[in-house]
Subunit: 504 residues, 2 copies
């Protein structure tokens, strides 16, 4: 729907703005050039949600499931050594759509990734900084970014006594902790996945650990702590210490919560993992990501380390839409604007269609967003009603008498004021109007230099009501409209009045 | 590839700008919610190019072939009475890709359509005006828009003696006239499609007619002309007279060529049809469209008249890319910039990573596009080389002595000049620096109002080399960088020097 698209544009604009601020390039990977085998083994249990294309002449293709695997394939295919890229595009899942939670079968994702061999945790920290900037810019409400490390998870399972071949299934059970209480997850571990009760209980002691990053890190790195003693988690804790320092330098540590219960489902993560959630809401995660050092190597045999984040933009849209509808209702009794039109060119009397079109064209040529009435002889209340309903801030009006005087009225619909300005310096056939010709003559008399072109117009003012410039034949209308819309330029999505309000 | 994406963004930006100037709303239709039956019967011989999805649980889906049929389905499904919309999205065709001519299996289209019951030819004229504005804005070189009318085509076949059931096959033969000479097309009509030779020759007399719209219209509407006498073409000629008048009012008649040989292949057109081609090139059509009054009714049973145009954006990209590469080669000996980065934050000496990150964060927070070196202790020639290669216009530099003095250098890489400015008012821990604290004290002494915050900084200048504002703790760096990048803001795609140039 058009008003939803207007919101999307605002969100895309903000997100792309952050990506570009960080010097990311944009790449576009194919939607369906991936064979099913390419995608298999990357998504764990979710692989069943991949869409396949029909076999049409020997091509077995699938639709992309996310933007990360196609990116890894791009890096492998083109032998890219390092790249910082963003990609906003649709992905496809054979899922039951859950509109309320922003889950569809085709939906947009906004991804930011950094691939390449760099000093430890530098790109990781920048990816998180990007996420923090985006969530701040989008103003969705209070949020937190839960963060963990794959090696911490694995070490914790190892310490608890889980055999390595059960790491992934147990992780996918832990992954449910944001929706289910510990008892349910414990039951899945013991009853479905065959873990002894005391092993599950040991895991339970770890997954309750969460807190401010530096504080929890302090606790876990105390010499006596089992995670500090395990070789893998010791590496992870050292990486996290480095990263938390970088995040502090970039002012991005605030929203981070170090949370040992976070276990992202996807198989390809190898290092730090994270997930952003809104506080107090029930919309699930709105962004997630982490380090995947082995994924590129699956395609080329040559590992290129990488880290990235994916914004679940449909959920962001849903939240923004709800916010905007509420604001629109409360503040203006209106709805969300669908267009950015700045002026409606309106007329009274018959035979005015070509003139409406011409004036509109002058406005378009000057970059002003304008519409004209499509009816041959539209009624003024209809034109006014349309402008109010669409939330168009200005009307450019004329009737017989204005045409005769070479002027138009500009009506400010917010302020309720009107002003009269000279129209344009050209007749309907595109040649200079009489008034413009007269201006030109005075202009020549004055010596004809750029500085006095407007003086010539002003001298003729009393005779012609025209202030058009004899050099460029640009009337007051265009210049004045440009002035006026500048002040409204900030309002990307504003509210339009409801139809009832307009007709009352 | 990233540089191609940068070009795409410029093209999309210009095209979207025109769509919005005309008050169009944006809608997004699904890529693959269309069953094959929905698409059948709309594309004539091209239907074989439609991609089907595999049957996965009873769903038979196809990928969209264009944006027009999904739009018509949207209008029908939602009972939309009238809408002016644009849509930029990918479509899919099982075609042999012809990269050189911009033909791929998945590619972007940019569509603009107006649906609704309006006075004759008003929306048709606006759609053509939109196309003219886009082609002017894109600056692809000289172009023309070939224009014809479905009823003129049919009347001309009727007059020539073609039986109605052969209208479509004969039209698709005429459609080849832009690639094949008349003899080849005539042979297809006679030998393949069974037309008597004299009937084909009669068609031949019509299809050579082309010229300036008003002139050719004059000729065809002379009382004695067979097309003026045929009831259907008389209607078409009257419509064209109205539309040419509107186009004149909007200053959009110039590039239009009235051409009786134009016969668009798609079955759904009912009125005016057109196709834009670049002069002197061999890239095929870069845009095409027309009126399709019956397509919405195929989905809902209730006709909603509509007219629209589709820009073949991949061909536009190919042309723009070739132009830009040529310009880049000639003017700067460089390549096309992939990012919009305005400043590289660079340092000399070890342990500077957190400070590079913090300074970068200050720039990001002020909307400046910035990058920092990822290496722990990057060498200055490497950092300079990177900035030159990427076409980054400024470097923000510091070493031990700058850190001590609380300043940074801003290096203008185009001009080759350097200036020293105060850095920021915060220490690495985010609290005000000593210099900022001193400023604050003076600020308090001065009475502490907004007007004298900078005076306080200036008073301290000789002691601290700091000009930071004690109120906002914003250093000269950010303010100065904002000033500097404003002057470079116009350059969306600029050229970066080649690597060789940078290292020499």
């Amino acid at each position: 729907m058009p008003d939803q698209m207007a919101i999307r544009e605002v969100a895309f604009g903000k997100i792309t703005g952050v990506f570009k601020r960080h010097g990311a390039v944009s790449i576009d990977t194919p939607v369906f050039e991936l064979s099913r085998e390419t995608l298999m083994g990357k998504y764990g249990e979710d692989s069943k949600l991949i869409y396949d294309l029909a076999d049409q002449g020997g091509e077995i293709l699938s639709l992309r499931y996310d933007l990360t695997v196609p990116f890894a394939r791009f890096v492998a295919l083109h032998g890219v050594g390092n790249i910082k890229r963003y990609h906003i595009a649709k992905v496809y899942r054979r899922d039951q759509p859950q509109m309320a939670r922003g889950r569809f079968r085709e939906f947009f994702q906004c991804d930011f990734d950094i691939a390449g061999s760099y000093p430890s945790m530098v790109p990781d920290a920048e990816v998180l900084k990007v996420l923090v900037e985006i969530l701040d810019d989008l103003q969705l409400g209070e949020y937190e970014i839960k963060l963990n490390h794959r090696l911490l998870l694995d070490s914790m399972l190892d310490i608890a006594g889980v055999p390595p071949q059960k790491f992934r299934p147990i992780c996918s059970a832990i992954d449910k902790l944001d929706k289910e209480p510990w008892e349910v997850v414990r039951a899945e571990m013991v009853e479905e996945k065959g873990l002894p009760g005391h092993v599950a209980d040991r895991i339970g002691e770890f997954v309750v650990l969460r807190g401010q990053p530096l504080e929890l890190l302090e606790k876990l790195t105390e010499a006596a702590h089992p995670l500090a003693q395990h070789p893998d988690s010791a590496v992870a804790l050292e990486e996290l210490r480095t990263m938390f320092g970088f995040l502090q330098s970039m002012g991005a540590l605030g929203p981070i919560v170090f949370d040992l219960s976070l276990a992202r489902g996807l198989d390809y993560y190898t290092g730090v993992i994270y997930e952003a959630v809104l506080k107090g809401g029930n919309v699930g995660s709105i962004a997630a990501g982490g380090r995947y050092d082995k994924l590129v190597g699956m395609f080329s045999g040559k590992d290129v380390p990488a880290v990235g984040v994916s914004i679940g933009i449909e959920r962001v849209f849903a939240i923004m839409e709800a916010q905007l509808r509420l604001q629109a209702e409360q503040q203006a009794g209106g709805t969300i604007r669908e267009t950015e039109t700045e002026a409606l060119v309106a007329s009274i009397g018959g035979g005015m269609q070509p003139r409406r079109m011409r004036i509109c064209s002058e406005l378009w040529a000057s970059g002003i967003k304008a519409e004209f009435g499509y009816k041959a002889n539209p009624k003024m209340p209809d034109q006014l009603g349309y402008a109010l309903k669409q939330g168009i801030p200005y009307m450019v009006l004329f009737g017989e008498s204005e045409v005769e005087a070479g002027v138009v009225k500009i009506k400010d619909l917010d302020a309720g004021t009107e002003e009269v300005v000279a129209e344009v310096g050209r007749g309907l056939d595109g040649s200079p109007s009489d008034a413009a010709r007269a201006s030109m003559a005075v202009f020549d008399l004055l010596g004809g230099t750029a500085g006095n072109c407007w003086t010539a117009s002003w001298l003729l003012h009393s005779h012609y009501h025209h202030h058009c410039c004899p050099l460029c034949l640009q009337g007051q209308l265009v210049a004045r409209m440009q002035e006026l819309v500048k002040t409204k330029a900030g309002r990307r999505v504003v509210y339009q009045q409801k139809e009832e309000a307009a007709s009352s």
